[in-house]
Symmetry: C2
């Protein structure tokens, strides 16, 4: 195989992958709008400039598409939260930054977070996504644990709970705030901010 052929082939493959990503991103928008239970392949296609038949050219079936969507979502999550470990010189600053960060995330993209929780629940019924979902949960847990450790360092203590427990506690606050936020409660973001800020010191000895 010549070098030129390799480049050409690579280009085709990458174009194929690029369209896959494009379609998956449109599908994510549809899913965020309607939720897993109410999203069909045709409504997904309506979120693109293409027809519904094309989806089966780029994806084997619906499960394949949604699995790929979840992976895309995960990539976006990791990328977004990777540089999110706030820089702060005092534990109070870090706690505030952490609360603000999560409250902003809640306010900026509530529908995407709603979708994430939806898919995570679906993974309890269908084991097709289970693995992917578990990986996302894992990376979110690690992201949060970095913050907890940074807070412990700044305050001169050590974390007094497991990373899994810390993540579960933060996630509980976030999900409850999302629930209220979508129900129209104005104070949901502020409550989350305060909840996070007061939670952090509780996790340190």
């Amino acid at each position: 195989m010549t070098s030129a052929a390799t480049v050409r082939r690579r280009s085709r493959v990458s174009k194929f992958d690029q369209r896959r990503r494009e379609l998956a991103d449109a599908a994510l928008l549809a899913l965020a709008d309607l939720g897993y239970a109410r999203t069909s392949l045709r409504t997904i296609a309506e979120h693109t400039e293409f027809s519904h038949g094309l989806l089966h050219y780029y994806f084997a079936d619906k499960i394949d598409l949604i699995t790929y969507c979840v992976q895309r979502y995960k990539a976006a999550c990791v990328e977004r939260y990777d540089g999110l470990v706030a820089e702060a010189s005092t534990p109070e600053q870090l706690a505030i930054a952490c609360g603000d960060g999560l409250a902003d995330a809640l306010g900026d993209a509530p529908l995407m977070h709603r979708l994430w929780y939806d898919l995570r629940i679906q993974s309890m019924f269908e084991d097709t996504f289970r693995e992917e979902v578990a990986e996302i949960d894992e990376s979110l847990q690690q992201m949060l644990w970095r913050n907890v450790r940074a807070y412990a360092d700044l305050s001169g203590g050590t974390p007094s709970c497991s990373p899994a427990d810390a993540y579960a506690l933060f996630d509980g606050l976030f999900q409850q705030a999302l629930l209220r936020h979508l129900a129209g409660t104005e104070t949901a973001q502020d409550d989350l901010r305060n909840g996070i800020r007061t939670l952090l010191p509780r996790l340190i000895d």
Copy 2:
């Protein structure tokens, strides 16, 4: 209207309601099996001894049925958790009892709790159940708050967070444990037990 007629009518009405409850309970089993997204009226009927047409005799439409299911579920929840405030003479005993209680609930009926989380997510997409779901959340929050207050009394302190935050934290631990339990993690129940036991003292000043 004669007295006899009243009795007859009452009897008819109560028989009508009784069958509604019966069908709703069967529907809950189907929902617990398959989840909201995958449960149709015909699969619900297959969980009963009746045909699918009967469902529309007792319920106006599918939303009516599921709404009634959620109400039934709520009634069961409140009844179950109302007498669950453990009797303990030391804070340590109460913390252990609380952890054991939630861990047992997780182990006894994981599918029902999975359904609860599913419906709570659906309430974020469809506002039909939103009210009912919020009421259930409220009662669960109150149940947990009774335990937190009892713990505070026994340990001679006062709760240092809001009821909503306390519930969110407990719920986060429970949901994460459920996720792991259904994924096959053997230690999920024990982790939940420990998580609850160590969480309670953190909420008290």
